[in-house]
Symmetry: C2
Subunit: 219 residues, 2 copies
């Protein structure tokens, strides 16, 4: 598949790299076609990797991934353009973190709304799926490195077929079917984003900058 | 220890019953000393169990547990009275669920504040510890019934000794030390309460009304 990854931070580059590794054609999108991080990534990631503007990346992609900070996601997606998002699966892995009052951040959108729903309202023809925002990038793309993959990823979205596309990508990353938990419609993204404050506190007390994730434990 | 459990719902009665079982003297507090649920519970729970008003329960308790719905917690604690809470460990297991817009509920306090912090501000001499609000009552008191106890409970509070008291009670319930995770100061309760929306979505998709909890999975 041709996949556009918007955002050149650690999340964007990690997802882009792994998508290339499993055989997809990936364009890493950024504000400028000569963005240093994107160009450097593309140069090192082989023939399936390209760098381009948000607009050109989204135009070329069959699936688009929002891997930008939540605070700029709407602006970035506007630059990618409604016409390039219409009918496409738009995977939102961002979190609406508000760093304005220091660390740990609060959320700029929460409780009765979510970033994912805000994006869906702004781009109604996109098929938004919330995924992977609940963990660090290294865990997203290689679940088996943590406890042999025995932990969970969540999905939320209003389009069942779009969620299947995302579930297949997660499977390519190594997520086993029983660990991909579909939480239902897109408003379930509220819970997925509101998990971040607890994630941050666990992160702060874990020590050693260790990767971690959660597993839903049942009887 | 003499423990006051405020609230006669399933959480209050379950905690009270288990506390009696492990040897504590428990007073189940409610609005009236003749509250049917409380009197019935006390009659069935043996000589260590009593029913009383919020005020009398709190006056008698060395530790007080807030097991009321978040929407009425402040009012109940006011009835229990500042003078009966001063210097005591106050375990807040409540969640600030707002059911006014239907199901699933949102939170009435969140993001930059929490119910636990609100309670601490209202009763500054109490030693508030947030605990156990992240799971169902049957899991709180018998962790070993779920995956042999291999899942986690969180604590938050500004008083380290108070947290030790709570950790000891959790140990009596069966929580192993490595599964009692101290997340730091009381403002970490924000994350513990903001977990509820995700908990609710997992609950809705789990099916069969199964008990569940989360385990933090590390490398």
């Amino acid at each position: 598949m041709k996949i556009a990854v918007l955002g050149t931070g650690i999340v964007g580059r990690t997802l882009a790299g792994r998508l290339v590794e499993v055989g997809h054609s990936v364009t890493l999108g950024s504000r400028s076609a000569t963005n240093e991080a994107a160009v450097e990534w593309a140069a090192g990631a082989g023939p399936l990797a390209k760098a381009a503007t948000f607009f050109d990346a989204a135009a070329d992609g069959e699936v688009v991934i929002n891997a930008t900070p939540g605070a700029v996601s709407l602006e970035v997606l506007a630059a990618a353009s409604t016409m390039n998002l219409g009918g496409k699966v738009l995977i939102d892995v961002a979190n609406p973190l508000d760093h304005s009052a220091g660390f740990p951040p609060s959320l700029s959108i929460s409780n009765t709304d979510s970033l994912a729903e805000t994006i869906q309202r702004a781009f109604p023809t996109a098929r938004v799926v919330k995924a992977l925002n609940t963990m660090r990038a290294d865990v997203m793309v290689a679940p088996e490195r943590l406890a042999g993959g025995d932990h969970d990823a969540f999905l939320a979205g209003d389009d069942p077929e779009a969620k299947e596309v995302v579930a297949r990508l997660l499977a390519e990353f190594g997520w086993r079917a029983e660990h991909i938990k579909d939480l239902g419609p897109l408003d379930a993204a509220r819970g997925m984003e509101m998990w971040l404050p607890l994630w941050l506190r666990i992160f702060l007390t874990q020590g050693n900058n260790n990767a971690f994730n959660i597993k839903v434990v049942t009887g």
